[in-house]
């Protein structure tokens, strides 16, 4: 390989299908991209919130299994859900789930061909962030109202 000009080139090593090395950008991207931009920050956040939602999926499975098992098992789920850690977990999960969903809609719009230019991307990114905050608040107002009645 030729002498490296830039430290970031160190991770730009891929392979052609015949095995010979080629220099091109690869994942992970985290060391290279400026994460303070709307584009890269929301992109990696979409991935991170997806992984966080796996925790939520596990909670959903636990909830369903406990409901099928009986009142004792379900009591454990309700105890967790109303504990301090549980509330924090569920609140963070709600925010992550809404962000992942709204960012996913943004992706589907891109897949359909809409909104590729930078101003539109930044605008839709802002809408995703605002929408996440509003939807999370609305979901928790609904849940708190249901819990109190």
């Amino acid at each position: 390989m030729s002498r490296k000009q830039d430290a970031r080139e160190a991770i730009m090593v891929g392979h052609r299908s015949d095995g010979s090395a080629v220099q091109r950008p690869l994942s992970p991207h985290l060391q290279v991209y400026d994460m303070l931009q709307m584009t890269s920050a929301l992109s990696i956040s979409g991935r991170i919130t997806g992984v966080v939602w796996v925790g939520g999926v596990l909670f959903m499975v636990w909830w369903l299994l406990a409901a099928a098992s009986g009142a004792d098992a379900f009591g454990a789920v309700q105890w967790f859900a109303s504990s301090v850690i549980g509330v924090i977990f569920l609140f963070g999960l709600t925010a992550a789930a809404w962000f992942h969903t709204l960012n996913g809609v943004r992706h589907l719009a891109w897949d359909a061909g809409y909104g590729y230019d930078i101003p539109s991307t930044y605008r839709s990114g802002r809408w995703v962030l605002v929408g996440t905050a509003l939807a999370t608040a609305a979901t928790w107002i609904l849940a708190t109202g249901a819990w109190l009645t």
């Binding site: 796996v54 369903l64 409901a67 099928a68 309700q78 969903t101 589907l108 849940a143 249901a146």
Partner: protein, 132 residues
């Protein structure tokens, strides 16, 4: 290292073509099923999250009664199946992006798929036990 090939309309080498259809290894399928499951999960997840939020503090009997209603059970089963398919696919691309060694990558993907299948079946069984 220049080679002359009979068909010059493609830049692919014959070996590249034989080794597995390029980087994606299976064409558009993964990308498309992710979009389909995403679109289907949009209404389903909204329904599930809002329903679960409205069931907060409802107690075991009320929750079981809610799950047992046929329409809720059907939508729950759809949600479970699509969620785990979407999750397994999403985790697969993450593993493919960040894991370098081939055997670790393949093992991780297979284990992830296996766990998703088992959890999906367990959740579906729970819903069926309540609703049937």
């Amino acid at each position: 290292m220049a080679h002359e090939y009979a068909r010059s309309t493609t830049l692919r080498t014959p070996l590249g073509r034989a080794r597995g259809l390029g980087a994606a290894k299976s064409g558009m399928h993964h990308w498309w099923t992710q979009r389909v499951t995403s679109a289907a999960l949009l209404p389903l997840t909204l329904w599930f999250v809002l329903s679960a939020a409205s069931l907060a503090g409802a107690g075991h009997a009320a929750t079981v009664e809610w799950i047992a209603r046929p329409w809720n059970a059907v939508l729950l089963l759809a949600t479970i199946g699509l969620t785990f398919h979407h999750t397994a696919s999403g985790l697969q691309v993450i593993i493919e992006d960040y894991v370098r060694q081939e055997w670790v990558k393949i093992t991780a993907i297979l284990v992830t798929k296996a766990i998703c299948v088992v959890l999906a079946l367990a959740a579906a069984l729970a819903v069926l036990r309540i609703a049937v």
